[in-house]
Amino acid sequence: MRTENQKAWFFVLPVLALVAFNALVPMMTVVNYSVQETFGNNQFFWEGLGWFEQILRSDRFQAALGRQFLFTFLILLIEVPLGIIVALSMPRKGFWVPVCLVLMALPMLIPWNVVGSMWNIFTLPKIGLLGYFLNDVLGINYDMTQQPLSAWITVVVMDVWHWTSLVVLLCYAGLVSIPDAYYQAAKIDGASPWSVFRYIQLPKMKTVLTIAVLLRFMDSFNIYTEPFVLTGGGPGNSTTLLSIDLVKIALGQFDLGPAAAMSLIYFAITLLVSWVFYTLMTKDDAQ
């Protein structure tokens, strides 16, 4: 006997309520703010799409967005190949496997603001270990509190240090799932190490790499705490990424309308780019 009814929806209700409470309602508040102007006293004036237009046209937003894309592009360019290389050079079996895995997981276990503080102290010109070493031992003029280039390099290196492990672990999981027979067959077929990578390892890592790239894109595009603690967005505005700028507008200037509009634009861009990434990377599988 098979009965069909819609009772299963009741099981979904608690989740729906929970999500509504912590996501949908706050989200709608943001939408609400983004189309109105308020001067306090709970008085609101209809603004239409004015805030959106103002944000999209502002040089400040465009500059922050540009920096954000540059940052995400750089860290993907470094972390993905580096992660693959590290995963390939990790041992597949034996005593060193758990050691490597734990070492790899360590950076990811450190809270974001602690990472920021660590790198701040590490790179300060006179007192930081790295800052002192670069300036006073190697004689390289490096000061991430004063020079935009130094600040950028530090922020990027910090993110690489913090998050390459994620790519490594995901790739490693893909690699260990390849049966030995594949490597043996490749040996017998006379395949070069490059061919083994190109035709065996890379195809088998593809699924996990897609996930790794997506996660790294979203995380780096929404990054806030680490650069905020390290440089505070400076020197000047040179490392003010989108989220840092957003917080400045929302909580620094209390411009809730423009901040809400910016949040929604920000969200839309993240969603759009993720979707494009995902569609492109899984295109072949659909065939």
Binding site: P179, Y182, Q184, I188, G190, Y199, P203
Partner: protein
């Protein structure tokens, strides 16, 4: 194509093996004729895959030599031995088409495109995959994938040997016989030495001209399927091959007679050696019913389709009899007659009767 000779081959997975029990392979000496079809048969863990990997060069043996046409290849890596191997699970390169898969080993060896195309077309025709050459290999069914991995081995015309490591494990039963006959046909066409590893006696006996039976890292018997069936050199072979396997019955032996449960049995010839564990070995097919003979109590009769398997007790020993007609009732008392030329004595597992002069 080459003759393959394994000389004093031993292998241990431990760096410093202490005794014989540390060896996965204990002293193997075999010569395989050029162009022959051989099977390595044995239960899981008997060392047959180890032996295969040593021949293909994926493993280096602890001791001994491998000779291809009297040329020592023990130290050569797999790609320089010119062997092909088909694995338990089909190995194909997912991102390539069927054609590219077949061309891969030739491309890696820098063969010119015209020759590659000619060879790939030839092999595709042989394997009946010509119409799939342009399709992606990842979407194929397991039996076609296995054909492609076979084809990658055969595409080189200089292969010394093709090895199969339980290649039909993941194939659907109804396709197994198809692929098996394809294999047989291929062997006749390419005339390469083929070595087939399996734990399935049907596969081994149908594929091979000669079967190597292994147990616990040792070669127990090498022979044609008929030899293995008719005159097992070891109780293991007798029991492993045949369905049901050979009856192994504890006995005492003297001269050309054995005494089993107080009944005298005439043997194929005189026994040699003494002491140790002594058993009488006779296949269920060679025991018949008669008016006189060894009295037995029938406990069970199973209809296998082509024949009946009768389980019976003689004294306290259970044995099986295969018969096509004159089936006794369960619970009845019968008389068993053992064929003298198929009754042998085994001491500590090994055969201990002289073959009767023909």
């Amino acid at each position: 194509m080459a003759q393959i000779k394994l000389s004093n081959l031993k292998h241990s997975y431990m760096p410093t093996p202490a005794g014989p029990e540390d060896y996965a392979l204990k002293e193997i000496d075999v010569t395989w004729r050029d162009g022959g079809a051989y099977a390595l048969l044995g239960p899981s863990g008997c060392g047959k895959s180890t032996l295969l990997n040593i021949i293909s060069g994926l493993l280096t043996p602890s001791e001994g030599q491998i000779l291809f046409d009297n040329h020592d290849v023990t130290a050569l890596p797999p790609d320089q031995r010119n062997i092909a191997q088909v694995f338990q699970f089909p190995v194909i390169y997912d991102t390539m088409t069927v054609g590219e898969n077949l061309a891969f080993p030739l491309k890696n060896r820098g063969v010119d495109p015209a020759t590659i195309k000619r060879r790939v077309d030839e092999i595709a025709e042989m394997l009946d995959v010509t119409d799939m050459l342009g399709t992606k290999a990842s979407g194929l069914s397991p039996d076609n994938k296995q054909k492609i991995s076979m084809g990658r081995g055969l595409v080189r015309d200089d292969v010394n040997a093709v090895m199969f490591d339980e290649p039909l494990t993941v194939i659907d039963p109804h396709l197994k016989w198809k692929l098996r006959s394809k294999l047989k046909e291929l062997h006749q066409r390419v005339q390469a030495t083929m070595i087939y590893v399996t734990h399935d006696q049907t596969e081994a006996l149908t594929f091979a001209d000669e079967v190597v039976v292994m147990q616990e890292g040792e070669v127990v018997q090498i022979g044609t399927p008929v030899e293995l069936f008719e005159r097992p050199q070891h109780t293991f072979v007798g029991h492993f091959i045949g369905s049901p396997g050979m009856n192994v019955l504890p006995c005492q032996a003297k001269g050309d007679r054995a005494v089993f449960e107080g009944h005298e049995v005439v043997l194929e010839g005189s026994t040699h050696g003494d002491g140790g564990r002594t058993d009488l070995g006779i296949r269920p097919e060679y025991i018949g019913f008669g008016d006189t003979g060894i009295p037995a109590h029938v406990t069970k009769v199973s209809d296998i389709g082509r024949h009946y398997v009768v389980s019976a007790m003689v004294g306290n020993t259970a044995l099986k009899v295969v018969t096509e007609h004159s089936v006794p009732e369960p619970g009845s008392e019968v008389f068993l007659q053992f064929k003298p030329e198929q009754s042998r004595v085994y001491r500590d597992g090994w055969i201990a009767t002289k073959e009767r002069a023909q």
